[in-house]
């Protein structure tokens, strides 16, 4: 095999359009991280490492035939549920939350696995019952979703449980859950809000309250939101310039390399930079929708749709929280925030998307 063939084999299951969108977002990530960390190369190299691991996972999954994905759906879901129960019973506590499972050789956060496993399981389930869906199927699928969400909410991890609930809901929605039931669910959610409110931890309640009036607690809980909005707002039309953000570099902005990295970008590149960034997200999401629309099986359609919409939800919740229209829930900006686990999960998801796209293309030809 010559070099061209190797390259061809390597690229065979990668979607070049999606790859370019992801690549651009990852470049934004590295660029912003360098500034957010105050010119610390180690952060950039660390993120490069995260990207490398994620990309290997992406490549492997992208090369997986679709029926393999179908086959592993149930085992992964069962494994994930077992680990979540394990976390609830024996999990490591850090920062007041029980999220991590000590596997002896590494600490693992099973909730991250469920971001893929839950939609995978639900898509598999709907595929099994394709074309004969009855009310019962929706109920069972909903239960498959609610069990892990409840466990994660208890850890407590509001951000992750919202994202997983969203990804599962997207499967239900795309699978054709009737509008009447959706309406009923919304009414039910509104009705149970006071009950859910009681379920929330104090700090979560506080964060939601702060959304409505962050200035009430400007030095306490509202500090994150206020400083984020100041960073974004002071960026102006064109931004303060790369490495010139005062909110970032004088450390007024909290969580600069993780949850609030959007504020760093906004401060230094302004409204124009934000339009560019939102454009990049729209490009990746748009490509995700195209892949979804072209997917050949019920399973792949549901899976691709859920992955795309979940990715969007990630981005929207994060930017909404930094710009002060959503509560601070601890969701990173997908592909841009520093972090190995979320990078891995996200790129795994895009691996699935590419697999769906490239394998059916092969089937067609």
């Amino acid at each position: 095999m010559n070099l061209r063939l190797i390259k061809q084999r390597f690229m065979l299951h990668l979607d070049p359009i999606l790859m370019s969108g992801l690549g651009a977002l990852l470049l934004v990530s590295l660029l912003t991280l360098y500034s957010a960390s105050g010119g610390n190369e180690m952060r950039v190299f660390g993120q490069l490492g995260n990207i490398a691991i994620g990309f290997v996972a992406l490549w492997i999954v992208a090369n997986m035939p679709l029926h393999w994905l179908m086959r592993i759906a149930v085992p992964i879901y069962v494994l994930g549920m077992l680990m979540l129960i394990g976390v609830a019973l024996f999990g490591e506590i850090s920062h007041g939350a029980r999220r991590w499972l000590n596997l002896g050789f590494m600490n693992f956060q099973p909730s991250e696995l469920m971001k893929i496993a839950v939609p995978l399981m639900m898509a598999w389930y709907f595929e099994k019952h394709e074309a004969t869906l009855t009310m019962k199927n929706y109920v069972i699928a909903t239960l498959l979703l609610l069990m892990p969400v409840a466990l994660i909410l208890r850890q407590p991890d509001l951000g992750t449980s919202i994202l997983i609930a969203a990804s599962g809901f997207y499967v239900l929605f795309l699978a054709g859950l009737s509008w009447r039931i959706i309406g009923g669910l919304l009414v039910g959610a509104a009705a149970s809000a006071p009950f859910l409110w009681n379920m929330l931890h104090d700090y979560q309640r506080h964060r939601i309250l702060m959304l409505f009036d962050p200035s009430q607690d400007a030095l306490g809980k509202g500090y994150h939101t206020i400083q984020g909005m100041i960073a974004v707002g002071s960026g102006g039309l064109l931004g303060k310039g790369y490495m010139q953000g005062t909110q970032t570099h004088l450390e007024f902005l909290p969580e600069r390399t993780t949850d609030f990295i959007f504020a760093v970008w906004s401060e230094e590149f302004g409204f124009v930079g934000n339009l560019f960034l939102l454009g990049l997200f729209a490009f990746v999401i748009g490509r995700g929708f195209m892949i979804t629309a072209a997917a050949s099986t019920y399973f792949t359609r549901l899976m691709a749709g859920s992955i795309t919409l979940t990715f969007f939800t990630y981005a929207f919740v994060n930017m909404g929280m930094v710009s002060g229209i959503l509560p601070v829930v601890g969701v990173p900006l997908p592909l841009v925030s520093y972090g190995g686990t979320s990078m891995l999960t996200l790129l795994l998801g895009f691996g699935v998307l590419m697999s769906i796209h490239t394998h059916q293309r092969l089937v067609k030809t």
């Binding site: 929605f173 100041i230 102006g236 909110q247």
Partner: protein
Amino acid sequence: MTPNVELKNHQRERYLFSLRLIFCLGFVAVLLAILVARTFYLQVWKHEYFDTMAESNRIFVVPIVPNRGVITDRHGEVLARNYAGYTLELTPEKIPDLNATIAEIGKLVEIKPKDLRRFRKLMSERRSLQTLPVKTRLTDEELARFAAQRYRFPGVEIKARLFREYPLSETTSHLLGYIGRINQQELDDLEKKNLAGNYMGSDYIGKTGIEERYEKEMHGVTGFEQIEVDAGGRAVRMLSRTPPQSGKDLRLTLDAELQKVAEEAFGDYRGALVAIDPSNGEILSFVSKPGYDPNLFIDGIDTESWDALNNSPDVPLNNRALRGQYPPGSTIKPFMALTGLHYDVRSPGFSISDPGYYMLPGSSHQYRDWKTGGHGRVDLFKSIVVSCDTYYYGLATELGIDRMHEYLEQFGFGKQTGIDLKGETSGLLPSTEWKRKRYEQIWYPGDTVSAGIGQGYNLVTPLQLAFATAILANDGVAYKPHLVKEIQHAPDEKQAQPEPLYDLHIPAEHLALVKGAMQAVVKPGGTAVGAFWGVPYPVAGKTGTAQVIGMKQGEKYDEDKVSEYNRDHAWFIAFAPADKPRIALAVLAENGGHGGSTAAPIARKVLDYYLLGKKPKPLQKVIEKEGAEDD
């Protein structure tokens, strides 16, 4: 289920899925649009607001206090200066148990009961979050001891500051006044005048005297450093620095050596002395005895010292030169003489026969002369030399009070001189209109009689009398009395330019007559010959006695019988050299008795020093009476 149904379901499902996907696409588009709108709102619409917030986050403004201007006398001797020192200051709000903390500090640094009392007083009048000194002027050793332990005392800090000091202490107290810590009322005042920004770092403000009057000039302009700080409050770098502009130095017209001589000349007497250069209004000496130590007031005076000053029968806090109002007594006579000549009521050759008393036509009430039996034949010249009361009783009656008022007012009586000090009183020059307004009474002829010898309603301040003497010395050309000769770097038009206020156009022969008589006052036969025996320069003077208590008809004043505080006040006015005056002055010795025996010797010492450079020996209170009796 038949395959057909399934296929149909399959198609239906696909169709349904497409609808749902399109709905999702719309959902995503709407939310993205919301994000765009939100960032537009934050970054473009509200940009200025958030930019200001970001700037105030990072920029910390530190005021740099300007150095207060230094005050010197006319020859450059320093009267008020600044020196660097350390204080131990604490912020009461930051300290939970004040007493315990002070007790702990007391183990490291000596805190005197006086310091504690002052601290308590400051506590009661402090502004919020103000730091208060618990100990001023730390020694190097105390500084080192406290610095090593300072971690134990949150809310307590060492401050390096410039302190104000008045080296001449009491000698210049009434003149310079003092600065003190800014109180709430002064702060409100500054805010009203929009000056609070300029006092952001200042702890002190001029409270009285020159320090108060020239506060604006001497304070200077506060500078600012803009410092970039990070979220932890650490300074990252300096962004800009507007240096402070030091307060302007003042050069006074005062002659400090003369001031010291004048103050010493009073000995134990209370009183006041104001000496003016008649040719330009410059005040050469401005004494009010007793004085007080202005240095006590700077960091807040402790209650005990305050009570001692405030309750003393000698009222040392009263600025007698500026605010003390006394009957002028016979010192009014030269001015009365000029009034009589001006209105042509008296001519130089006119004389009376003095029986020792005066009676108003149609009245049997006797207005007595100070000399029983009278002075014999008295013309205008002699009336001044021997201070004949009877002559002036008659003159006043013929002039009438309103003509007296009209002319004497031009010598500055009855109104403020306009000196550059605050709180000047205006004395009292009576008139029929004044009495009507003040008492709703008509003016009686008897009122005029006593006004003729500077008694009755008449009141003057030592400053006013010195001003009047200066006008006379300068042949009727008046210059406004002033204390500041030069303000450093001030534009020329702001400098106190000695411009004449007005000219009385007194005929030369009137001046020659009155000035000649005043020169004879210090010569044999005059009322002040004792004090001026052997004086080598020509002096013109006039003695005066201001009654403190009234004497009943037929009763004779006896110095030994009245208590010290009820004794007459002694006046003396003078200018010298008489032919070309360089100095004009008024001396008041409270309860000093006769002007010739107590006030005139004080004037002699001041004149001797100023004209001859001769320093006198300290004065003794009891002075032998020499030569002629005074009035």
